[in-house]
């Protein structure tokens, strides 16, 4: 599903964010991405979502090479990837329902069908009773769950989560990890970056450990 082959990422100015990465993630697998901040976790996720391109090497996502992907092909790729951000990236000019509706609008969904899907996604993350609420009125954990609802409403085959439990206390973290686990059980490929050791113990899975841009072990 996701394949890295001798991937390097250098930024202008000479900083080498990723060095010689080689790994495979199979379809339906759940994988952690661990390491200190600045180790290159976010950069790696950005490569998978074609937000950045590798400086050299091959990044294959669902058979597409990110290094040579045409700009016109990027939207179709991203519709297959659910992105969950640490800073949520919610839109504050619309309510929870409309935030989750956005990916379906982009795909040109039939309005009534889309409404059902939005409610299903909100139900999944436990926010069905807050659909009219604006993001400002939601707590940090609720905002994160709303971000997850938006990422899954389009039923993507890959979920990328960048520090999804970063700012949350243990109780909320467990809640969110339980949501991820349920996606894993229905066959979604998950790549979750985290520096939270307790999560790894609680929900064990393969972990890729990054240190200064290189894979360890």
């Amino acid at each position: 599903m996701i394949k890295f082959n001798q991937v390097y990422k250098r930024y202008p100015g000479g900083h080498e964010a990723l060095k010689n990465l080689n790994f495979d993630i199979a379809e339906g697998e759940m994988v952690y991405l661990t390491g200190h901040s600045g180790a290159g976790k976010s950069t790696l996720l950005k490569l998978v979502a074609a937000i950045e391109r590798p400086s050299s090497g091959g990044v294959l996502v669902k058979g597409q090479n990110i290094r040579s992907i045409k700009p016109a092909a990027i939207p179709a790729l991203r519709r297959n990837i659910g992105l969950i951000f640490q800073d949520h990236k919610l839109l504050f000019d619309r309510n929870a329902f409309d935030n989750v509706m956005l990916p379906l609008q982009i795909c040109g969904f039939d309005h009534r069908e889309a409404g059902k899907r939005v409610r299903a996604a909100l139900d999944k993350v436990g926010l069905l009773d807050r659909e009219k609420a604006h993001p400002v009125a939601l707590s940090g954990g609720e905002q994160q769950r709303l971000c997850i609802a938006r990422a899954i409403v389009n039923r993507p085959t890959i979920l990328l989560a960048d520090e999804p439990t970063g700012n949350l206390d243990t109780e909320y973290s467990t809640e969110i990890m339980n949501i991820f686990k349920s996606f894993h059980q229905v066959g979604v490929t998950l790549l979750i970056s985290t520096h939270d050791e307790s999560i790894l113990r609680q929900f064990p899975a393969r972990a890729l450990h990054l240190k200064k841009g290189e894979l360890q072990g």
Partner: protein
């Protein structure tokens, strides 16, 4: 069907956006309306004056007045000679009696003529030349002036040509004005859209992250430009209509004095549609320039 629904959704969204900031929207529409109403108003005035010109002048003609006392035989000979002239299409003879009757019928002259002891009018020919242009007509007039029994040869439509030249000047001026103000309209839309893109930067970024195509992101801005241009066109139409209403009131009193039924005509249905279509197109164009100038700068990081 899917795309139609999507377009309707964007249209609905655009209208709501316009209503969200009613003052700014109204001001923009008014500015566009005023900018467009200037060349449109000029066009309408020119068109009215032009129709007045052709209404009065009709086909170009030369009036030839004979010396009073020219005999019937001479008149017949002159008529034959005129008919055979290569530069003349046809002629019409107006006898002095007929001319007097015509004059009696025209406004306010009956009493004056009734007081005359004898007919002061000469016999006349109306000559329709083959060539309608000013040069050929002047040449013909000069030639006819040398003929015997001709008291006076008059080029009736010379002033129409002068008017025509003046109208050409006016048309050029209106065209230049229209071109300049079209640029102004594009610039206004360009700037409005630029501000919108800047304020919606976050939304655009997120949309790109979750797989929006460029077309999807561009569409609401293009619709906005199009709608604003169209509303500006309608505003221009209304402004011109109101101005004409006011002017026609004045023109009415003026033309009554000249016993004419001249009035300023508003744009025809076709011209109105052209105006609104053009305004909408310019708005779309301004938005398109703005979007292609600014949107690529917003890439998610």
């Amino acid at each position: 069907m899917k795309t139609l629904i999507e377009h309707l959704r964007v249209l609905n969204y655009t209208l709501r956006r316009l209503l969200l900031t009613p003052n700014a929207t109204l001001l923009n529409i008014l500015i566009i309306g005023i900018a467009l109403s200037l060349p449109v108003g000029g066009y309408v005035l020119l068109k009215s004056v032009q129709s007045l010109g052709s209404q009065i002048a009709g086909t170009p003609q030369i009036s030839v007045f004979l010396t009073i006392g020219t005999g019937t035989g001479d008149i017949e000979r002159i008529g034959d000679k005129l008919k055979q002239h290569t530069a003349i299409k046809r002629i019409e003879f107006v006898s002095r009696e007929v001319a007097l009757k015509k004059l009696q019928q025209s406004t306010g002259m009956a009493e004056v003529i009734g007081g005359l002891s004898q007919n002061p009018l000469p016999d006349a020919f109306i000559v329709y030349p083959k060539e309608g242009n000013l040069k050929a007509m002047e040449a013909l007039r000069d030639e006819l002036n040398t003929w015997q029994h001709f008291e006076h040869v008059q080029l009736d439509s010379a002033w129409v040509h002068k008017l025509e030249a003046l109208l050409d000047f006016g048309r050029t001026a209106v065209a230049i004005l229209a071109a300049l103000l079209s640029f102004a309209l594009i610039a206004i839309t360009f700037n409005t859209i630029r501000l919108q893109i800047l304020t919606r930067r976050e939304e655009i970024e997120v949309a790109k992250l979750i797989g929006a195509t460029d077309a999807f992101i561009r569409r609401p801005f293009l619709y906005f430009g199009l709608t604003q241009g169209l509303l500006g066109g309608i505003a221009a139409w209304l402004l011109v209509a109101i101005s004409l209403q006011l002017l026609n009131h004045q023109v009415g009193t003026l033309t009554q004095l000249y016993a004419s039924n001249f009035s300023l005509q508003h744009l025809s249905f076709g011209d109105s549609l052209t105006l609104m279509g053009f305004a909408a197109y310019l708005g779309w164009l301004g938005a398109w320039f703005s979007v292609s100038q600014h949107l690529w700068q917003i890439e998610p990081r």
